[in-house]
């Protein structure tokens, strides 16, 4: 019955926070790998978090996930090599053209493929580690809600843009987050009109998002805007037809309004938190609020549990659960508190579906790759690169060309970063993560969200 990470619902949620795919710039390999790493880590963490239950053996699943993780690592390495080969060949062809016109043919051969240079490999690995670790740290740094939030990051590079001859390019990054169970009200009696509606159980969650944003701004990113979405789940007990069966398959406009209020309140909190750190939020886009209704299977389970705790009407069970904080005028349906097992199931089915999602969009300008016209120039290679060149007197150092295109105006650093956008990062700390990872996979229930326009 459980559905910890349903694929179906992720799709519907992505629609609320993501840019349509055809509008996205293509992502670079590192960003895709880093994004996958975050997803993989989230899955592993969730698996680790599953408690040991006597009589239940999930060792097989653990092994299976390890195997898949290994498979993915091998895939990443293969793609990395393919890309390195691609760039080596691309650069090789370009440099050959240059050299053909100016340098004797025997100069071609000593060129060392950058991917084979230990320093290059180490530096690449270091950059990738830093990107992955920065993103993972951000992903893990947000302990939202009792039920735990899911965090995802999307990074979209500018590799797809046609390189301009001069000027700057733009690197886009999107930080997205789905916050589960942060809401103070288990049941906002007056729904959208309730003063508690939309309040956070853990207000620091907004602060963490602001901190992440501040870090990115310090790295040169500019905040473009935020997209906020929210959903509610079975918090009204009366349906639109005023029958006391809302949540159990019936819809209620109040739930939509409540989700809408969550968006509004959270948007305000986010704006304030960012302003407190000196960051202006230019725009906030609110997506349509969503009401998640229970599936038939979940309704059946609730009926059984209601019967088990002695409630003749199943909606009373959700009512009892929703009224955990028991307003003064609320009389409990039963004299005894709900059994922990039942509360646990309802937490999963109801509380975890009450959430706010936020996607921050940022960009920063990066210098574009500028092809240099063929020319012959002596370049002093760094010692690590020189050490890899063949010890052959027929290759005088004055004829050595570095593995990458000569860029006289940018020769201050060895150019050892593989992917094209990275090559444009001249002038900034090469060890600094240049882009983030993607991701936007939120985890939650498998219910079909019902969208209703406000």
């Amino acid at each position: 019955m459980s559905d910890a990470v349903p694929v179906e619902s992720q799709k519907s949620r992505e629609k609320t926070t993501s840019v349509p795919s055809q509008e996205r710039p293509k992502r670079t390999l590192d960003a895709v790998i880093a994004a996958g790493d975050i997803q993989e880590k989230a899955i592993k963490d969730k698996l680790t978090a599953i408690p040991d239950v006597p009589g239940v053996d999930i060792s097989l699943e653990r092994k299976e996930i390890d195997t898949l993780a290994r498979e993915r690592r091998e895939l990443s390495a293969a793609a990395d090599d393919d890309l390195a080969a691609f760039w080596a060949q691309t650069r090789g062809a370009a440099q050959k053209d240059e050299l053909d016109s100016t340098v004797p043919t025997n100069i071609d051969s000593p060129r060392t493929e950058s991917s084979n240079v230990p320093e290059v490999q180490a530096r690449r690995a270091s950059i990738r580690r830093q990107v992955a670790s920065a993103l993972t740290a951000m992903a893990l740094a947000i302990p939202f809600g009792v039920g735990g939030g899911t965090t995802a990051f999307a990074s979209e590079g500018s590799a797809a843009r046609p390189p301009a001859a001069m000027g700057e390019g733009r690197e886009h990054i999107a930080v997205t987050d789905a916050i589960t169970g942060p809401l103070l009200e288990k049941y906002a009696r007056l729904f959208a009109a309730d003063e508690k509606a939309g309040r956070l159980v853990h207000p620091e969650a907004v602060g963490v998002i602001a901190d992440v944003t501040k870090n990115l701004v310090n790295q040169g990113y500019v905040l473009d805007g935020a997209t906020i979405g929210a959903q509610s789940s079975d918090e009204a007990h009366k349906s639109d037809k005023k029958q006391e069966n809302a949540g159990l398959g019936a819809t209620n406009k109040e739930n939509i309004k409540l989700a809408g209020k969550r968006e509004t309140v959270f948007g305000g909190l986010l704006k304030s938190a960012l302003e407190a750190k000196g960051i202006t939020l230019p725009s906030i886009t609110m997506t349509e609020p969503i009401e998640n209704i229970l599936t038939d299977k979940e309704i059946d389970e609730i009926k059984m549990m209601a019967e088990a705790v002695g409630l003749s009407n199943p909606y009373w069970l959700t009512e009892e659960y929703n009224r955990e904080e028991h307003p003064k005028d609320f009389k409990p349906m039963t004299d005894t508190p709900l059994p922990p097992d039942v509360v646990k199931r309802l937490d999963h089915m109801l509380r975890d579906e009450r959430k706010v999602t936020v996607a921050l969009e940022l960009h920063r300008n990066i210098p574009h790759f500028e092809p240099v016209p063929p020319q012959r120039k002596d370049i002093q290679l760094p010692p690590a690169l020189l050490a890899t060149l063949p010890d052959n007197p027929s290759y005088p150092q004055s004829h050595y060309f570095p593995a990458q295109t000569i860029r006289p105006q940018h020769v201050s650093q060895p150019d050892i970063i593989r992917q094209q956008p990275r090559e444009h990062n001249m002038g900034k700390d090469a060890n600094q993560p240049s882009r983030g990872g993607k991701i936007a996979r939120s985890h939650g229930g498998d219910r079909q969200g019902k969208r209703v326009s406000r």
Binding site: S2, I43, K46, L68, A69, S76, A79, L83
Partner: protein, 51 residues
């Protein structure tokens, strides 16, 4: 020779497939545990521990 775009696209597709498989395995593990918890609730009901 594959282009950068092709390499990234192919990798992304394969990686997502693997991640999806991992998710399914995770769901299966979680279900095992949840089913057991649910079975215990029913057991208690049958025994009359929960009325």
């Amino acid at each position: 020779m594959k282009t950068q775009e092709q390499i990234v696209k192919e990798y992304e597709e394969k990686s997502e497939t693997i991640l999806r498989k991992m998710m399914h395995v995770l769901i299966r593990a979680q279900r095992k545990v949840d089913d057991e918890a649910y079975r215990k609730v029913l057991e208690k009901v049958e025994k009359g521990d929960i009325v």
